[in-house]
Symmetry: C2
Subunit: 198 residues, 2 copies
């Protein structure tokens, strides 16, 4: 048996810094496959097909659902979003770990299909800090920010079911904790017992 | 809620190097409480009461069983051995992690009472290396070594139920993996969710 790839899920409220922490952690884990979501919404300025999203039309999306080619999916503001299954399985077969950056609802769908997935919740150090970050980002209206904060509290309530909980008060420390988790999750008997020789 | 102490169990065949790896790991984790077993056998040359074992008589041992003051116990070669519960609970209450170096059967007893205990199995790199170490130790007869090797194979078969499996091919690396586990096991939502402020 070769090294087995593992699915890691990173969830956390919008504005908690998932992208930044992940980017920092990836420097020590360059082989990890970062899943790219499929969506039916159009690309925004600067978004590249296959990098930020796989931009596909409604027909293609519905076909993926029919063919069980999505590990999770949801509708949001009139568009579909989902995690393509095939690239994930290909990476796992190659022994690569896979990272899914998805929300709590998506995580529940993936976990139902793949109970060996490791779920990590990234939280802001405080609610006021989360609000500050959303305001400073300058991309959302006051109304939108209120919506995001309400949603964040709902998501956080479900974090109790996660395997790990990381507080992003310092990007480098949070990234180091992520890497600790990636490492330790490969210390499992199923993956190592056969390595004891003769 | 303050930092919660956690029970860690280290099992592994006689001769796999549990003591050495643990001693090395403890340098980074000096606060951990190392449980001292109680036994009814007499002290051997150089063994200190309260350090190597708590040496007690049969009466005292049976009283501890009656009063539910042992987390696990077993008889071996006409003597009793067990893990006193009270010092473990006191350490946990102080927020200290606790290490129990016990065999697979003891681990099963503890886990039945404390399902939040984290079980770590330490294995030798190979069976021939284990035999070599037992022979080099020079403390056991050829017969005793054969017995230990048979027992080791029985124990290893049960390692599949453990949370973690570490191969001791290099003491420092194995100790580092132990410390990774000690750290990561405190990244749990139950212990951290309340730390998100306001």
């Amino acid at each position: 048996m070769e090294k087995q790839g593992k699915i890691f899920i990173l969830s956390g409220p919008s504005g908690c810094g998932k992208g930044t922490v992940l980017k920092s952690a990836m420097r020590e884990h360059p082989d990890m496959f970062l899943s790219v979501s499929a969506t039916t919404r159009g690309p925004r300025q600067g978004e590249i097909d296959g990098v930020h999203y796989h931009f596909i039309d409604d027909d293609a999306f519905l076909k993926m659902i029919d063919r069980d080619q999505l590990l999770e999916h949801a509708g949001y503001a009139g568009n579909f979003y989902g995690t393509p299954r095939i690239p994930v399985d290909e990476a796992l077969d190659q022994g690569r770990d896979v990272m899914l950056e998805i929300d709590v609802q998506g995580a529940q769908q993936v976990y139902a299909k793949r109970p060996d997935a490791v779920r990590i919740f990234l939280a802001p150090p405080s609610w006021s800090e989360l609000e500050r970050r959303l305001v400073n980002r300058g991309t959302d209206s006051a109304d939108k920010i209120r919506q995001r904060l309400t949603r964040a509290r709902d998501e956080m309530a479900l974090a109790v079911d996660y395997d790990y909980f990381i507080i992003n008060d310092d990007v480098e420390r949070a990234a180091a904790e992520l890497n600790d988790i990636f490492r330790v999750e490969h210390f499992k008997p199923a993956e190592r017992m056969h390595l004891v020789k003769d």
